[in-house]
Amino acid sequence: MSKLLNELIESLRCLPGVGPKTAQRMAFHLLERNRDAARHLAKTMERSLDDIGHCQQCRNFSEAGLCDICANSARDSSLLCVVESPADQHAVEHATNFRGLYFVLMGRLSPLDGIGPDELGLDQLVKRLDQGGINEVIVATNSTVEGETTAHYISELVHQRQIKVSRIAHGVPIGGELEHVDSGTLSRAFSGRHLV
């Protein structure tokens, strides 16, 4: 195989879940059947890398200093939802009618991986809380041990500033049958029950 082709295959392997075989298939496909799309991909990738940074306010990916959501004056700036990743933010945005603003941690506190408050930009979050104008912080980190640790720590930071803080609920999935729900979720659903 030519040197350049090998290089292309190797480069494609940086993508998550792409092994040597898949990388080879991708390379052949792009070169043989879809050169225009490949060119477009290369250009977009280059432009994205140059232009996409982080929103100064919420840390999410953005080409502008402020992302579209933070810049949108119609959104309720008194509500702040804290999520772990851009994918989580996207999920919340699409599944709920939340119209407040976000703060994207780009990770979670992970003691054994050395990810601490600095890596998550918590100083930036604190600054934002101290600026005032926020009435409630909704902590929507994942329901894993690391996610819970992160949620606890953020809640403390918010509490200290006399701002209301809430945690998303955990429970039985819609359409789910109790019999098939794992015991952890079921016990959380029970302890977190609400009056109807």
């Binding site: 998550p16 879940g17 506190l109 003691p111 054994l112 991986d113 050395g114 601490g116 408050p117 600095d118 918590l122 604190v126 894993t144 041990v145 819970e148 640790t149 949620a151 606890h152 720590y153 930071l157 794992d182 015991s183 952890g184 979720t185 016990s187 959380r188």
Partner: protein, 242 residues
């Protein structure tokens, strides 16, 4: 010649740490009763319908089955053993510290059942938010150090052989033990006889002794852990700062 295929059924275990692996799998560092630390792959564990979902959480007493050859085996079954341990956020960081100690100091494939059972007891104790955290950590460290083969000397002076007196001061000399301060040893750290005796009898009520014991444990653990700092300890400190 390849290594033999192993097959283990319903082994008591705790997950120490996990990493995302490929598209939807998880690479687990697991602490088991009969096999010590084991590396396992839980294939497809992140898929919505995976039977592992909600089960493969750290600090959870599990029963697991795996098979495979070589260093990394494949998890084939996992279920929650006994009741659920939901750790309060307050003690979570200490539980992470225990995990890091086990990961750093216990070897793969080497059974350490005393450490395993003490680990389980400690995690269970940490599920009570009002528990005396320090006492749990120190007594776990003591068991771990002794099971690693570095039994602490706490009842006799390492030089004179005399019984430790609570009013005396001792210097704890690495690889040797406590030596009364009047002797001319220069290395080591100074600790009261009272604290040595408290550690020996696992009584962690006196705050002054507890402080001494913490220093002693850190002193003994540091050479075992090597130069790399404990990340859970660093994070704990960073969180305290804010």
């Amino acid at each position: 010649m390849g290594s033999p295929t192993s097959q283990v059924e319903l082994q008591p275990a705790y997950i120490l740490h996990n990493h995302a692996y490929a598209e939807s799998s998880v690479l687990l560092d697991v602490f088991t009763r009969d096999f010590g630390r084991v590396s396992l792959i839980a294939k497809g564990a992140k898929r919505p319908r995976s039977s592992f979902r909600g089960i493969l959480q750290a600090f959870q007493p599990l029963l697991i089955s795996w098979r495979g050859k070589g260093q990394v085996h494949t998890l084939v079954h996992a279920e929650i053993d006994s009741s659920l341990n939901t750790l309060p956020a307050k003690t979570m960081m200490s539980a992470f510290y225990l995990n890091e100690l086990v990961m750093r100091l216990c070897h793969q494939g080497e059974a350490m059942d005393t450490v395993f059972s003490r680990y389980g007891d400690s995690i269970l104790a940490l599920s009570n938010p009002d528990v005396a955290i320090e006492a749990i950590l120190r007594s776990f460290e003591k068991v771990l150090i002794s099971e690693l083969g570095y039994q602490l000397v706490l009842h006799n002076d390492a030089e004179s052989g005399e019984v430790i007196q609570s009013q005396n001061y001792y210097r704890y000399v690495p690889d040797k033990g406590p030596v009364q301060v009047s002797s001319d040893s220069v290395q080591g750290l100074v600790i009261t006889g009272e604290s040595l005796l408290a550690l020996q009898s696992d009584s962690y009520d006196n705050p002054r002794c507890l402080k001494d014991i913490k220093r002693l444990m850190r002193f003994v653990l540091t050479p075992l852990l090597g130069h790399k700092p404990l990340r859970s300890r660093e994070l704990y400190r960073a969180l305290q700062r804010n």
